[in-house]
Amino acid sequence: MRWLLGKDLLVLKRSPLLVALLVLYPLLLALLLGLALSRGPEKPRVAFFNQVPSNAEEISVGGDSFDASKYADEFFKSIDPVRVSSREEAFAKVRSGDVLGALIVPPDITTKLEGGVESPTVEVFYNAEDPVKARYVQDTIKSRVQDANLALTRRFTDTALEYLDLIATGGRFSFLGRDFNVLGLQRSEEVLRAARRRLPASSPLRLELDKVIGFTRLARENLDLSDEVLGIVGAPIRVKTTVVRGGGTPLTTFAVAVVTTLSLMLVSLLLAAGALAHEREENAFRRLVRSLVRPEALLAEKILLGALVGTLLALLLLAGLALFVDLDAGRAPWWVVALVPAATAFAAAGVAVGAAAREVRAASLVAIMVGLPLALLALVPSGAVSGTLYDLTRAVSAVFPFRPALAALEAALRDGGEGLAGPVAHLLGLTLGFGVLARIALKRFA
């Protein structure tokens, strides 16, 4: 087998055009798909007019100060800001279509926030010529303003809770440079109880004091609940996120996994299919299997060739992607654990295609025509189609290595070894299945 493997590698080495196509085409295709997957909607251009003086960007609440400009920085992650110097300029840019929207921040926003009496108002203008982008601008601005509101509410709530705690338990309080000693409900109750004890048992004042003591106790106990109540006011609805299916892979990692799996599929599938069909085109197949090599060994050699070259190229691709994307190189051994069975399964599918198609051109065409739709089918997310159709897509993509290969690589990139066993077992089963199909197809190969 090693001599045939060496021969195939030598033939590859002497076919630079074929190698270039075999490497460049999958890379180009994978790159385009990766861009489509990893790039979100383009950031909308939004004019931004900030009227707040630079020396007034700090907000002071309850003795604590924080920088309001950090909320603007968060906001700019979602838009492409075009800073303007006047409200009119912002409005003109929206009208001319230079920007899709404009956000006007009033000069008194920080003072109104500090005062806590009146809510400041920001102004937003939209250009609605492109409904899709207009909706995106609206949603982005609304979402970010809500984020800012929530963050500020938490700040105000914390401050209010400190005041309430002071009322409940008492303590020292500073305001405008002067210190005040607040008695608080707890200590008031203690003072009242002490006064009651000093009164004669028959004094009618005891009954009056009991009413006041009861009130202070009730008020203190209810104020103890105020932190929960104010917490609910600040965020009436909380969101608890639970991943039900899928590993919660970050979008970038998912894109890397898709790109790599697609490249691996094309290389291993095409190479194994083409190499087997090439034996027939060179008329060597009959000479080989007559007495020199068992057909099973020949299939195994082509699978090994596809797996070897595919794995190496996929590793090189991952190493290249790691220069641009945050990939944990410490998990590289797990990448190999995922890539080897994936490449082997793709190569096994390739020899089945090669044995059925019998000619290099036909095998290559069939490999692409079968492989690409099945790969894309495996990427159809739940909810995109009806439940029945989705179940059908999952059933079809389960008999092709792309989906388990993607799952294995995702697990290797994300969690290391965790979650690899299932996809790897799936891939081994597919390798065996396609190997048997290829052996059956070989009976009419020559």
Binding site: N283, A284, S291
Partner: protein
């Protein structure tokens, strides 16, 4: 005319009562054949006679439904009609690869021997794809000879060659027979049988019609025959083909 008439009494390949059916069609109907060392045996017949099927069974490429063979495929050198070599490999690399697959003990020695026999020593490093059809066919034959088999089977070896290339190939093949190899070949060209075969085997519709020398075949035909080809056609007509 350089006829080879080296006849030896040693049979190196014996096929007995070979029957091959493809569905209801009988491709070979109890054909027997003996090849002896140093002799060229030419199998000839009209299209669909069963020539290639017979050679494929002798080579072990196909299995007979009935009948027996005296040798296993590994002991028989086989040269398919189309050159079964790799066009991206050089002459020497092809020979080396197949010698290794044949598990020849002295690979480099076998390569050198074949380069010498084929006269392609000066083209050893040329890729097969750059060689002429004749030279490719010589390499094809050389691959069949790497294991030094006692019997060499050639399936229409000159089918795609021009006259000059044919002449050079036959020089090579007759040289092998002179060295003691039993050569069995199929051909459409009756003159190649007359010219080179010691024994001619005539097949038609899967039946063995004749096995003997070309001269014996000519004698079989009643009346005067102008040449061997006319005698062969008359022979077939006389037997309803």
């Amino acid at each position: 005319m350089a006829r080879v008439r080296t006849v030896s009494a040693d049979p190196v390949l014996e096929a007995s009562g070979l029957v091959k059916r493809f569905g209801s069609r009988v491709a070979l109907a109890g054909v027997s054949l003996t090849a002896t060392a140093g002799e060229l045996t030419g199998i000839v017949g009209p299209n669909g006679a069963g020539k290639t099927t017979l050679l494929s069974i002798l080579a072990g490429d196909e299995r007979a439904d009935e009948g027996s063979l005296s040798r296993v495929p590994r002991e028989v050198g086989w040269v398919p009609q189309q050159a079964a070599v790799y066009s991206k490999l050089s002459v020497a690399e092809n020979l080396r690869l197949f010698a290794r697959l044949e598990r020849v003990p002295d690979v480099e020695g076998a390569v050198e021997r074949m380069l010498d026999q084929t006269g392609l020593g000066d083209r050893a490093d040329d890729q097969l794809g750059r060689l002429s059809g004749g030279n490719r066919q010589r390499v094809n034959v050389a691959v069949g000879l790497l294991a030094n088999p006692a019997v060499l089977l050639l399936d229409e070896p000159t089918a795609s060659l021009d006259p000059r290339q044919r002449e050079r190939l036959w020089e090579f093949v007759t040289g092998l027979a002179e060295a003691g190899t039993a050569v069995v070949y199929t051909t459409h060209n009756v003159l190649e049988v007359e010219r080179y075969a010691g024994t001619v085997v005539v097949l038609a519709d899967g039946e063995l019609l004749f096995a003997g020398s070309p001269a014996d075949l000519q004698r079989e035909v009643a009346g005067p025959a102008a040449d061997f080809e006319s005698a062969f056609v008359s022979f077939l007509h006389a037997r309803g083909h």
